[in-house]
Point group: D2
Chain length 140, copies 4
Amino acid sequence: MTVKVGLEEMREFLDEVFPQVRGTFGIDRMDAGGVTMRLYNHDRHLRPGGTVSGPAMFMLADVAAYVATMMLVGKQALAVTTNCSIDFMRKPAAGVDLLAMAEVLKLGKALSVTDVRLYSEGMNAPVARATLTYSIPPAR
Amino acid sequence: MTVKVGLEEMREFLDEVFPQVRGTFGIDRMDAGGVTMRLYNHDRHLRPGGTVSGPAMFMLADVAAYVATMMLVGKQALAVTTNCSIDFMRKPAAGVDLLAMAEVLKLGKALSVTDVRLYSEGMNAPVARATLTYSIPPAR
Amino acid sequence: MTVKVGLEEMREFLDEVFPQVRGTFGIDRMDAGGVTMRLYNHDRHLRPGGTVSGPAMFMLADVAAYVATMMLVGKQALAVTTNCSIDFMRKPAAGVDLLAMAEVLKLGKALSVTDVRLYSEGMNAPVARATLTYSIPPAR
Amino acid sequence: MTVKVGLEEMREFLDEVFPQVRGTFGIDRMDAGGVTMRLYNHDRHLRPGGTVSGPAMFMLADVAAYVATMMLVGKQALAVTTNCSIDFMRKPAAGVDLLAMAEVLKLGKALSVTDVRLYSEGMNAPVARATLTYSIPPAR
């Protein structure tokens, strides 16, 4: 699968499409094998005890699957998530960023399916896994 | 199944356990048949176009399943989501609250399973559906 | 939503499309509100102890979602399941049929989403719940 | 994670616990990194056109997750599947075995979570992916 969007271009695209979350996410890596993104360790994503909340983990998985899909199909702001299954397996570590590794398993004409694993930075065991389906609008 | 927590008591419990989201959710109904909650139509949950974002829908489904479970087992702040599957089916309407109707399908010793349907207030067709599993820590 | 296929016509269609499972399933009810199907209590679907196996429960949920979708879009043998989430909640009762109640939550141009609950005949509490997405090929 | 059951011992255990499906599955590989199993290309698992049916794919994913879990916790016939999410991504090839690669992502005291990818033998792109949760009964 060929990468159609460069790293700098993708960062600008995310800021433009999701201005509300500007500064929330970073893109560490983006190549044919997949995407690594991070959720910065901000107060507003935390549960009591300092660990990342479930909705924040969902949000990171969702945006990582979006970036991994956009990278392959080109910038299509109107792609939408149609399905997500997520397993929360371990408590995230407090005080560190959350990382997402996303891999597109299927890229069809109308749908993409992406596997995502989430890790607390510096830990080996995943804190969560998710699979997301994106519906890709037909190019005009 | 017997309701173990009253409405006012549950509202106070939510504020205490999730102080970061105080004022975000309302509980409309809570009885043996289930729970109806609402996500107030706030700017910070919105995508461009004024509709509710996916992570905000996930958050509402998650908290509704939590309240529906707590109502039946008693207040156990340490219950955690272990699994969620969610289908996003329609674009939420702009400018209205999002409602969640949650029904506990199974209440075991260690796990609960809850079905949730999400609606834009005033609409008949659901915007999303979700099923959530909560792990319930053994009572001390 | 309008029903496009009659009960007798659907039974014949199922026998024609899935000849390997002829005699395995019955359709009890089929109307705008949904579909009730049954898996006959046959030896070959059983686990030791006489209860229905997980794959047999999946198969019933899948065929019930298929029938519920076909009823609304018309007979399209080429529709395929793209996603399923299923929760196994209770052990099915031994020696009775398994029932599925299926309700289409969304019928789009390319996808349907159907909720299914499974019951041991004569019991009130569901043994399983499932949600299935079908991809519907464009009509020629 | 340590492997507690040898390959020959696991084959005998499967035949003993699931006598109805004797001869249906093979175990190719079983080590700390995971398990590779195969569904033999039998007529009874096929749809018209010669490809493997959805329920047969579910069955293979389920048994592969079971074997991957049993390998790590020891033989516990009473473990049961509580949740599965599965994405069907491509049509399996006709006339070849179906392979499952299973990896346990979490092994807790009461639950395991296993990721499975399914391939038609000789093909690179996965035909399906699944995640299964097993409930593990407390050892006596």
